[in-house]
């Protein structure tokens, strides 16, 4: 039986899982969860993820939540097919993949999420973006991208010379970010820009990006 992913294609966290499934050429079924109608807060969904967020995954009798735990599971289960997303055959290379995945989680994601939240989610809730929060997090994001610019001057991808989960995890929010008027943070850094354009050329990305349909306000 194919894995079931519960969520909506426009969710960045769901897209993270879908990218991984496509990189692994793995069959799956996307079970829609209506986010605007708050179906992810209903008891039926909370029984899969008590934190009430998408995605959730069902694979036979295993239920999982947290998109990066799901991608790690898929990458491990299907380690022998599709793209090698974890460098699992070499423990030191695998650790470097994990390192840059942690950098995405702790340094990149908080800053970019705060910007996207203000420019996309807040207006959908009928409120105005908080310019101070946007400015503060753009500054933080810029400093993180300075580190990336130097790193990507030495390696083609974040964890080395091949595409891994460390790169994949960045894709959905960066895609949304590039739709804002702040895309210069990426485009003005040549190594980061080249890396981003490479990530966008991947077949898995071309399958998933059409689902990332939400647009930011022009701020």
């Amino acid at each position: 039986m194919a894995m079931k992913v519960y969520g909506d294609e426009m969710s960045a966290s769901v897209a993270r899982v879908l990218l991984c499934l496509h990189e692994k050429n793995t069959e799956f079924e996307l079970v829609p969860v209506n986010l605007f109608a708050c179906h992810h807060k209903l008891p039926s969904f909370l029984s899969m993820n008590p934190f009430g967020q998408v995605p959730a995954l069902q694979d036979d009798d295993l239920t999982l939540f947290e998109s990066r735990a799901i991608t790690a599971y898929i990458a491990e289960k299907h380690r022998d097919k599709g793209t090698d997303l974890t460098r699992h055959e070499n423990s030191k290379e695998a650790a470097i993949v994990k390192l840059w995945s942690e950098v995405e989680a702790h340094h990149f994601n908080p800053a970019i999420f705060a910007v996207i939240h203000q420019l996309i989610v807040v207006p959908l809730q009928g409120e105005s973006p908080d310019a101070a929060i946007v400015e503060k997090n753009l500054e933080k994001l810029g400093k993180v991208l300075d580190v990336y610019e130097e790193r990507l001057g030495k390696t083609k991808y974040l964890a080395g010379d091949t595409y891994t989960l460390a790169d994949l995890h960045h894709v959905p929010y960066t895609y949304y970010f590039m739709k804002t008027s702040h895309a210069g943070l990426i485009n003005d850094r040549p190594n980061v820009k080249a890396w981003w354009e490479d990530l966008c050329s991947r077949p898995a990305f071309l399958k998933v990006s059409p689902g990332l349909t939400v647009t930011p306000t022009t701020n």
Binding site: F51, L62, L64, A69, A95, E102, A105
Partner: protein, 214 residues
């Protein structure tokens, strides 16, 4: 040659790595990086950790930063030694990863600014953001209820054994429990309190507290 851990032994992220070393019986050497004088922001340390934070490790010519990546590397390298921190089957490992990710995205995002405002800032003579802290405590209560529910039917977060999912919470929990209001929030949640008392009774935690000067 023993692994060198660059960091301050009282800081939460180095403690995450130290707990892993202690659970696995791995020898280590701590090289003190003085956070009070911002040694972590100086050029020499930035070469080890470009974001200017602790910890970083050097093991021969292998170098790594990000405490959770370091802990995972050593838990994998020494899988057959000491406590099994990663989980047994593929599915069990996925559940361990899931709750370890919960620590990052739900717990730490609240615990870290609480600790920074109520413990670190006063030490540096900076003003605490009182409004923020009150908001964070409310959110933390909601999250702790979810943990409490999970731990009412599971001895540890990923099931019946202590794993990385539990370990990764411990440094911040140690700090939070020293804050009266949070301590009371924990004690008011029976299963969560039971879990904290059990894991903080582990020899690794007690050794860590001695190393940290408690």
């Amino acid at each position: 040659m023993v692994v060198k851990l660059y960091g301050q032994v009282t800081a939460a992220c180095p403690q995450r790595v130290l707990l892993c070393f202690l659970e696995k019986g791995i020898e280590f050497e701590i090289i003190h990086i003085d956070l009070d004088t911002f040694e972590q922001k100086k050029p020499e340390h930035l070469l080890r950790q470009p974001f200017g934070q602790v910890p970083a490790i050097e093991d021969g010519d292998f170098k790594l930063f990000e405490s959770r990546a370091i802990a995972r590397y050593y838990a994998t390298k020494f899988a057959d030694q000491g406590t099994n921190l990663l989980g047994k089957s593929l599915e069990h490992r996925a559940i361990v990863d899931q709750w370890a990710d919960v620590e990052t995205y739900y717990f730490n995002v609240l615990a870290q600014p609480i600790v920074i405002n109520l413990i670190i800032k006063p030490r540096l003579g900076e003003k605490c953001d009182v409004v923020l802290v009150e908001d964070l405590k409310v959110k933390l209560g909601v999250v702790l209820d979810i943990y409490n529910n999970r731990l009412s039917s599971n001895r540890f977060l990923a099931g019946e054994e202590f794993t990385m999912a539990d370990l990764t919470h411990m440094p911040a929990m140690g700090y939070l429990m020293s804050i009266t209001d949070i301590n009371q929030m924990v004690k008011a949640r029976g299963s969560f309190n039971r879990w904290w008392e059990e894991i903080s009774d582990r020899p690794s935690w007690k050794k860590l507290m001695v190393l940290a000067g408690h």
